[in-house]
């Protein structure tokens, strides 16, 4: 296009100035340019009839995986002397191998194929089309068009496997599972003693209690283990997404959420997910592998964003979650969140807060100095006070330094470690 314009302008300037100045030589100089223009138009491209088809080796891939892409452009019209094809990569996709553009001749019925490999961070990648420039052999007259070829690639977050997460909601389902149901019946953990009823296994009889009451027999009861409703809440507010170079605290939160979802679903629980950020991204509760896929897809799209409406947790609709169910909040936390979390506890929700430690994460970004150390210490004190207040409401709080495995932090906070040891472990660094 630019070449065509330049030639036209030069030719006309020479012609007009030559005529005006009555200088034959200048008019003559315009003739090769005009011949060039005419030659390009004689074999100029017609309306091209091209079709693009793209295929991906996988429509869903884990983070860090390489995905092969093949784009084929077929000429369904007349011969095209020269065509340049450029695949329009999604903005954040990284080209690992191969080329995304090709130049060549495309006779009628022939195809040009582009093969390349991409990778990317967690997210939803969309290929909308391929840019094609068809031109005459001289490349002066060109037509540019975008051929539609829609493809999606979902890169889901990677997660570490968690064996079992100890939770204890007030309400459970009727199905057998790993969660203590606060009801006597068949189980493993001792729950209480009741009077013998016909049909009770003999090995359940509590002989010591029965010996004290000669006229009665007593049977041991065990705590039933059931499945439960678990609501995962991922805090996607911008204020909590602290960045350290290329790393983001939200990425750790997303991976933790994926790991927790997988662990709860593996235990047979019904799990839902709410991403709280720019809007409420709600994944309706469900069971099994299909639900795992839904949650991973939602997490793949999670982005840190700021919204005036969802600036504080007050707008979080607790009614999305069944009453007295288990809620798991994954958030770096700030003091303004405390009243809402206290209210959730008062409404009967069991609350597990997994809090990636923003202080140690951010402190790692600075060169060690006395000032940084002092600031980090102050911030840690403030955070410790906040988490302490939250623990006093009855919530289980996991203070997770993200450079450590989540499983260890969860085991420390939720495992059956004696309270004294847990206190020492939590306060041991002071």
């Amino acid at each position: 296009m630019r070449q065509f314009l330049l030639l036209s302008i030069l030719a006309y300037v020479l012609l007009i100035v030559g005529l005006a100045a009555l200088e034959r030589g200048w008019v003559v100089l315009a003739l090769p340019l005009i011949a060039h223009l005419v030659a390009s138009q004689l074999r100029g491209p017609d309306v091209p009839r091209l079709a693009a088809r793209r295929s991906l080796s996988s429509a869903r891939a884990p983070q860090g995986a390489r995905v092969s892409v093949q784009l084929t452009v077929t000429n369904e019209g007349a011969d095209t002397p020269m065509v340049a094809i450029r695949d329009l990569l999604p903005p954040l996709a990284a080209l690992e191998e191969g080329a995304t553009s090709v130049v060549g001749a495309l006779p009628r019925g022939a195809s040009l194929t582009l093969d390349y490999v991409v990778s990317g961070e967690r997210g939803d990648y969309v290929w909308r089309g391929a840019e094609v420039t068809v031109s005459d052999p001289l490349g002066i007259a060109a037509r540019r068009l975008v051929l539609p070829a829609l493809n999606h690639l979902l890169i889901v977050p990677g997660s570490q496997a968690l064996r079992h997460v100890e939770i204890r909601p007030q309400r459970t389902h009727g199905f057998a599972g790993p969660i203590p149901a606060r009801q006597g019946g068949p189980g493993v953990e001792f729950y209480g003693v009741r009077e013998y009823q016909r049909g009770d296994p003999l090995r359940w009889i509590n002989w010591r209690a029965s010996a004290r009451h000669p006229r009665a027999l007593f049977t041991n009861e065990f705590e039933q283990e059931r499945t439960a409703d678990v609501g995962l809440i991922l805090d996607g507010r911008q204020r909590h997404d602290i960045r350290r170079g290329e790393q983001s605290l939200l990425e750790h939160s997303v991976r933790a959420t994926a790991a927790l979802a997988e662990a709860f679903l593996n235990d047979g629980n019904r799990v839902g997910l709410l991403i709280y950020g720019w809007f409420l991204d709600w994944t309706f509760p469900g069971y099994g592998k299909v639900q795992r896929e839904r949650i991973l897809r939602a997490l793949a799209r999670a982005r840190a964003s700021e919204s005036v409406v969802f600036e504080s947790l007050d707008r979080l609709p607790a009614r999305f979650f069944p009453a007295r169910s288990q809620l798991v909040l994954i958030s770096a936390l700030c003091p303004e969140d405390l009243p809402f979390l206290t209210r959730l506890r008062a409404q009967g929700y069991q609350l597990l807060v997994v809090s990636p430690d923003p202080v140690s994460f951010e402190a790692g970004a600075f060169a060690p100095s006395r000032e940084v150390e002092l600031a980090a210490r102050l911030a840690r004190l403030e955070r410790r006070a906040l988490l302490g207040t939250l623990r006093r409401t009855g919530a289980v709080v996991v203070d997770w330094p993200v450079d450590q495995p989540l499983e260890r932090a969860l085991a420390q906070a939720t495992g059956r470690v004696p309270q004294l040891l847990r206190t020492i472990s939590a306060g041991g660094m002071t």
Binding site: R2, R24, G25, L31, P32, A142
Partner: protein, 172 residues
């Protein structure tokens, strides 16, 4: 192949322009033409001028300067045939430079040899036709009446409107 042809075109252009100015005792213009040729030769080296927006603009600028140089040469009374030859060579060098850039900026070139051959053949035909037309115009004298002149002017206006239409169509 393209690079060799481009280099030859630039050398020919420089020789024609600078030689004509030097022989016509215009040393300043001759030096300027040699400088333009030198920059043109440097810009044909991919390592010095990789494909990109600024290289494309430089190629355009050199082409405009060369054509302007040829027009100036005619104004200063140099041989119109030599200046015509310089313009044709400048056009060829400019065309080849843009073609080379298109190939270099693509990730892959399918059938490079046949593309280059096809382009060179087209360029030779177009440039040859342009040169021939120019020479005919130089050595054929036709006396025009006012009406014929007006008619030719009308044809020029129509051709301009057609060119603009084509340019707009390509842009869309």
């Amino acid at each position: 192949m393209i690079r060799i042809a481009q280099t030859l075109a630039v050398l020919g252009l420089t020789a024609a322009l600078a030689g004509a100015f030097a022989l016509g005792r215009h040393p300043a213009e001759a030096l300027l033409a040699a400088a333009i040729g030198g920059i043109g030769l440097l810009s044909s080296q991919r390592r010095i001028a990789p494909p990109g927006a600024w290289t494309g603009r430089l190629i355009d600028l050199l082409f405009i300067l060369s054509t302007a140089g040829a027009a100036w040469g005619i104004w200063r009374g140099l041989s119109p045939a030599t200046m015509l030859l310089a313009t044709v060579l400048a056009l060829a060098a400019w065309d080849l430079a843009h073609f080379g850039q298109r190939l270099e900026s693509a990730g892959r070139v399918e059938g490079r040899a046949s593309l280059e051959r096809g382009h060179l053949a087209q360029l030779a035909a177009a440039s040859g036709a342009g040169l021939l037309l120019g020479l005919l115009a130089l050595y054929l004298h036709v006396r025009l009446t006012l009406a014929t002149g007006l008619l030719l002017g009308l044809v020029a206006v129509l051709a301009l409107s057609r060119a603009l239409f084509l340019a707009r169509r390509q842009g869309s």
